[in-house]
């Protein structure tokens, strides 16, 4: 399996460490607005776990060491794109488009 890294280009999957599905943004920390337990539960544990197009965290641990979100199909293993994890949640629209299967 080849995975596209936005920084390094197409690389073999052995260079990457998968870290699970990117389905919920990390809840905000600090102040009086501490996130509810449910938000953490959602972020850490529960998953929609779709069969089909998904977004998944990978760490390019044997490459540029950046965190990326890879857009993959869990039925065919086809990789259709990826983005820097730091930019993924900032661009909710893009995430929603991907959810819609574009």
């Amino acid at each position: 399996m080849l995975i596209f890294c936005p920084h390094c280009g197409m690389r073999p999957s052995e260079e990457f460490t998968p870290k699970g599905l990117a389905e919920a943004p990390r809840p905000a920390l600090g102040g009086d607005d501490r996130p509810e337990d449910d938000a953490w539960q959602d972020y850490l544990h529960t998953r929609t776990n779709k069969a089909g197009q998904t977004n998944e965290y990978f760490h390019h641990s044997l490459g540029c060491r950046r965190w990326i979100v890879v857009h993959r199909n869990t039925l065919t293993h086809e990789v259709t794109g990826s983005t820097m994890a730091s930019e993924f949640w900032q661009n909710q629209q893009q995430a929603q488009d991907w959810e819609a299967g574009q």
């Binding site: 699970g20 599905l21 337990d37 529960t46 929609t48 869990t74």
Partner: protein, 417 residues
């Protein structure tokens, strides 16, 4: 005598040219309503139906299976049966399951070929030895059996293992003598036949396409063979838990991953135990047909594809040849992948759901096969409103409350277990 399997029956059929064997179970049309519906005709679903009928006398039960009976992970595993767990939440349950295995062939009147040939978990460091000694003590405290072997003990049990491996020398191993292997298909078929004989309807080619929920409680299911009503529905669909749960609006703590397994060509007996290599997460046994059956870890990424990739296969072969160098002469016959229901802490979930009447049996990671009778036993008790202490900690909300059963101590991440 009639339809029991045994010597006299075999003799009679042998003399009649084997013309008297009928189908082992019926192929009924679904009724409009049942007391209990079990979704999933694999090992766990069939075992649940069997114990519901046998132990609780609840026989108005349907098992709905989208394909054919035993066509999922119960037909795709490496058939290891053991109860060598550290934590009470797991060990109580798996020891109960192992005790059921020990009497299963007689109970089912079906030879499941349970072969208690022992399991040995090898260790390579002082730290690992301490951990295994602690685990062995925990097992004994919970009524199981365990023996701590030294290096010579491992060599005596399995002479073909390279205990002097320079990179990962084997210091010894934790042995459970009552552990072993079983014939995986026979387990599904035995439970199916036993459940059918007691009046359970086993309905194949019947995919559940919807779960009806009214005012927070289940009322029935929609299927490819029409709607079926029931006040109690049990889900035993490991591998597809998230997809079936979504039909009832549940979002569950499960990710689907692939675990690959391998079988070599058949060779003369060379390994009589189940043995694991602590350094490579590699495990191996030899089947009755002579093939070496082995595997290692998850590929690591999410998938429903029932197949893995080559890098992991390379890793498994490297670990295998390091552990049993003679394996390098053996040719690989086939490999396959099964979809694992990975929970965040690597332990299963048998619990009620927030929807009344909907029961969940999920998160088996890669330990589902050995759990088959125990899972059916405990799940049937839960559905019959008589929950047992074996599953007291296997709660759905344990990730939120923090009461996880993290056998590996790896933290709440699905693909690490």
């Amino acid at each position: 005598m009639s339809d029991r399997y045994g010597f006299w029956r075999l003799l009679r059929e042998g003399l009649r040219g084997h013309t008297g064997w009928g189908p082992a179970w019926r192929d009924p049309e679904p009724k409009a309503e049942y007391d209990v519906i079990i979704i999933g005709g694999g090992g766990h679903g069939l075992a649940t139906a069997y114990y519901l009928a046998k132990v609780h006398g609840i026989t108005n039960v349907a098992v709905l299976e989208k394909g054919y009976l035993g066509g999922g992970n119960v037909g795709r595993n490496t058939t290891i049966v053991r109860s060598n767990y550290l934590h009470t939440g797991n060990e109580l349950f798996y020891e109960k399951s192992l005790q059921l295995w020990e009497g299963l062939s007689g109970d089912l009147d079906y030879n499941v070929m349970f072969s208690p040939r022992s399991i040995i978990n090898c260790f390579h460091t002082d730290g690992q030895r301490d951990a295994e000694a602690r685990r062995g003590n925990q097992m004994i405290l919970h009524g199981a059996d365990a023996v701590l072997l030294d290096k010579e003990g491992v060599r005596r049990e399995a002479p073909l293992i390279d205990v002097d491996n320079p990179r990962f020398p084997i210091y010894g191993g934790l042995m459970q003598k009552r552990a072993g292997t079983a014939r995986h298909d026979a387990v599904a078929w035995g439970f199916a036949r036993g459940a059918d004989k007691r009046g359970v309807d086993l309905i194949q080619n019947c995919e559940v396409t919807g779960i009806d929920v009214e005012d927070g409680r289940v009322t029935g299911v929609q299927t490819s063979r029409g709607p079926i009503k029931a006040k109690k529905i049990g889900m035993a669909v490991a591998g597809n838990t998230s997809r079936v749960g979504a039909l009832a609006g549940l979002r569950l703590p499960i990710e689907s991953h692939v675990l690959q397994a391998f079988v070599s060509e058949g060779i003369k007996p060379m390994l009589h135990n189940v043995i694991t290599f602590g350094a490579g997460h590699f495990y191996i046994s030899q089947s009755d047909k002579g093939g070496l059956v082995f595997g290692a870890s998850l590929d690591g990424y999410n998938t429903y594809a029932q197949r893995g990739n080559l890098p992991l296969i390379e890793h498994v072969m490297e670990a295998g040849v390091s552990f049993v160098p003679a394996m390098s002469k053996v040719r690989l016959l086939r490999s396959w992948g099964g979809v694992m229901d990975m929970s965040p802490d690597g332990s299963p979930i048998i619990d009620k759901t927030p929807i009344e009447g909907l029961y969940l049996n999920a998160g088996w990671c890669y330990g589902g096969f050995k759990a088959t009778p125990g899972s059916g036993w405990c799940f049937s008790h839960l559905i019959a409103d008589k929950p047992t202490h074996h599953i007291a900690q296997m709660r759905l909300d344990r990730f939120k409350t923090g009461r996880v059963i993290d056998e590996l101590g790896a933290g709440a991440q699905h693909n690490l277990h």
